[in-house]
Symmetry: C2
Subunit: 234 residues, 2 copies
């Protein structure tokens, strides 16, 4: 295919595609711990919200989560209550982190992409502090391109996190594949013209991810690694 | 509609339909606690299984769960190991039961059916001991028709639990609506000719339940209560 005059040295070495990974539920098996940590923090504030509804909101921005919560409760949530909930959640997640593991194939996938010089980054709606504890589980040496909540004005499903990650990699966003386990990743991918790829490892059903715009859905990072050709990695 | 010669006194008072409810994820918001209790027990046995895969197996018979586990591990699981896993899971679930709540509308739905003299029962793959702790959360007085693992030779997705529940209610199984949150409930319903109704409150996606044979899918017991007419309750 003609490259439209772009000098080939400006393109990644082995592939035209770069990968922007979500973290929780995509590389690390932490969604269920986040869900129960949220539920615990809500219960401590005397807010009862069914667990599956919390599950379906993990990965969206905290501000939107609080707005959705207000709708469920039928009343606004004060800013100081929202802050307290987020603090309690962070504490509850850290208490559960001993049960969290990397997802099957996550390390191999990142190693393989690195060996091909395919650029990749991690972009999460979570805070840098929380993300760094989780990323340690991936056991990688050397720096990782990591974009967190603090780096952008708006978290997912706004596309800011993925746009910032693409800019960090110096790759046009339209050359990027966004890999995530939630509809928030896929909506954000659509909004910036990236290719959305869904993983079942966060506990969503396949159809939910397809309807949210996933080009392909794989079980987990190991399954994606086995099918990288389908995503255009040479 | 002609009743084919059946005397009307042999039919339930206000409705031709009876309800056979699954328990965890259907009436009580306990699936995520079961998932993490299973994961903890597996980790204690040095077995790593991704959380979403455990989630998708909650509600199936323990024997089939162990068989699925053996496939994931690529080796058989010894009977004493399977027993130990089940004991660790039961203990882990009890440690988490303080976080478990009835699902929205569960009490109202059971009260409403009772007020209409629509027969209903609960049929769970769990043990009687575990189920009774969970059922207490529904806060009902008086006896409940409860069928558990001990009452049948095979748990879900075999239809035995639902067949036993229908027999307990003295209602033909083909007049029964099976309400459940998992594909195991819906597969069992198909296998005995009951009408399967799915609830999202266990965390499955809608499409998974529809593909497994759900005639309708509602969010939770409250949503089913609002739409009982769609299920044929007069």
């Amino acid at each position: 295919m003609l490259k439209g005059g772009v000098p080939s040295s400006a393109l990644p070495a082995h592939s035209d595609v770069a990968f922007l990974f979500d973290l929780d539920g995509t590389l690390v098996d932490s969604v269920y711990q986040h869900v129960l940590a949220w539920q615990e923090s809500l219960q401590q504030a005397n807010i009862e919200l069914a667990t599956w509804r919390i599950h379906r909101r993990v990965g969206m921005s905290g501000g939107l989560f609080v707005r959705a919560l207000a709708r469920e409760l039928g009343r606004p949530v004060a800013a100081e209550d929202a802050e307290r909930l987020q603090r309690l959640h962070a504490e509850g997640y850290l208490r559960r982190i001993g049960q969290v593991r990397p997802l099957p194939g996550a390390r191999d996938l990142l190693d393989f992409l690195t060996s091909l010089s395919v650029p990749w980054a991690i972009a999460t709606s979570g805070t840098r502090e929380g993300a760094q504890g989780t990323i340690q589980l991936l056991g990688r040496e050397g720096p990782i391109s990591l974009i967190t909540r603090e780096d952008v004005a708006r978290a997912k499903p706004d596309p800011d996190l993925f746009l910032a990650a693409a800019a960090r990699l110096k790759v046009p966003i339209t050359q990027c594949a966004v890999v995530g386990d939630s509809v928030w990743d896929l909506l954000a991918a659509r909004r910036c013209g990236a290719l959305g790829i869904g993983l079942l490892s966060g506990g969503y059903g396949e159809d939910e991810l397809v309807r949210a715009g996933a080009y392909r859905v794989y079980e987990d990072p190991a399954d994606l690694l086995r099918h990288l050709d389908e995503v255009g990695v040479r």
